[in-house]
């Protein structure tokens, strides 16, 4: 049973303050269940008190982002790794 949530497209702006490449197209593997998919497909709760992105398969937390005055906290423990497309 899910609450209203957004998807990982909503992370694009906040993560764009941190990363120079767009992360929403990056493909990640959930550290809990192994499901792979684009960041854009994560289920996103927030933005307050923080952005919490969960696996669309198992609902475990993949990524967390809190933006405070003068700082951001980013937790990526829920992703085994991210594959980012980059130019050669």
């Amino acid at each position: 049973m899910t609450t209203e949530h957004l998807d990982g497209n909503a992370l694009a702006g906040p993560l764009g303050e941190i990363f120079a490449v767009d992360i929403t197209a990056a493909v990640g593997r959930c550290a809990s269940c192994g499901l792979t998919g684009p960041i854009a497909a994560l289920r996103v709760y927030g933005p307050a008190p923080g952005l919490v992105a969960r696996c669309p398969g198992c609902d475990e937390v993949v990524l967390r982002l809190v933006r405070g005055p003068g700082a951001a906290w980013l937790d990526l423990r829920g992703a085994v790794s991210l594959r980012l497309g980059l130019p050669d």
Binding site: E4, L6, G8, A12, G13, F19, A20, D22, T24, A40
Partner: protein, 239 residues
């Protein structure tokens, strides 16, 4: 490539789309350009320092420093009443972007395109339609909304080019003589107005969360592969 920061954006034009929605044309100096489907974050700051931000999809393809957004006035909203009723040409906001590299259509792509939009979910899809101009890629649009008075881009979609088929679906009230009774999106709507799964179209679904999930499930039921379906959910305020 670099990290994004807030840029000043000046309103230079506006167009009323419906009684409650408006397209805003901003000039953003040194805008790096954007792809159809991307969005921007808009930040407003009051003179006491209070600020808040919302995300809006870009409504038109890149064109120099111009960024066009279509905003729906949300009852009891905080930002949309300002953008649909108060802001005037010459006023400034801050824009950050463009963001979102997954829910995009690139003109180099060759597959047919199926666009499924609910309410204000039509906005990023319209950017894709406007980017299609001159391309040979065939597009089909299914636009779901409450009633005809809420249509954005009505004239432009009426005059569309041969490469675009437009289907409307009304959920609350229909015009006289309309063949389909009012109601939410169903399998038949997509079967009729969409591309068959065998054509392997790129599908883009955008709108409120409930609409997106219903439409995406129907596309899967029709045989479209999950990797060909891209979705963007707007919050209950419609973005």
């Amino acid at each position: 490539m670099r990290r994004l920061t807030w840029r000043p954006a000046r309103l230079t034009g506006l167009r009323e789309e419906t009684d409650s929605a408006r397209t805003l044309v901003f000039q953003v100096p040194d805008w790096p350009g954007h792809l159809a489907g991307q969005h921007v974050d808009v930040r407003l700051t009051a003179d006491d320092g209070y600020s808040t931000q919302r995300s809006y999809s870009v409504a038109a393809p890149a064109d120099g420093d111009t960024v066009e957004l279509t905003v729906e006035r949300v009852p009891d909203g905080e930002v949309s009443p300002y953008l649909t009723e108060i802001i005037e040409p010459g006023d400034q906001v801050e824009i950050r972007g463009p963001v979102g590299g997954w829910f995009v259509w690139r003109p180099e792509s060759r597959s047919p395109v199926l666009l499924v939009g609910g309410g204000s979910g039509i906005v990023p899809l319209m950017a894709m339609i406007r980017a299609q101009a001159g391309s040979r890629v065939p597009f089909r649009l299914l636009y779901s909304l409450r009633d005809p008075s809420r249509r954005y881009y009505a004239e432009e979609l009426r005059r569309h080019d041969a490469g675009l088929d437009v289907g409307y679906l009304y959920t609350r009230a229909v015009p006289d003589g309309w063949p389909r009774p009012a109601g939410r999106i169903l399998l038949d709507d997509l079967a009729e107005s969409g591309w068959p799964a065998t054509f392997e179209p790129e599908c883009y679904v955008c709108g409120p969360t409930g609409f997106v999930e219903a439409a995406a499930d129907l596309l899967l039921a029709l045989g479209h592969a999950p990797e060909h379906i891209r979705t963007e959910r707007f919050g209950p305020t419609g973005g």
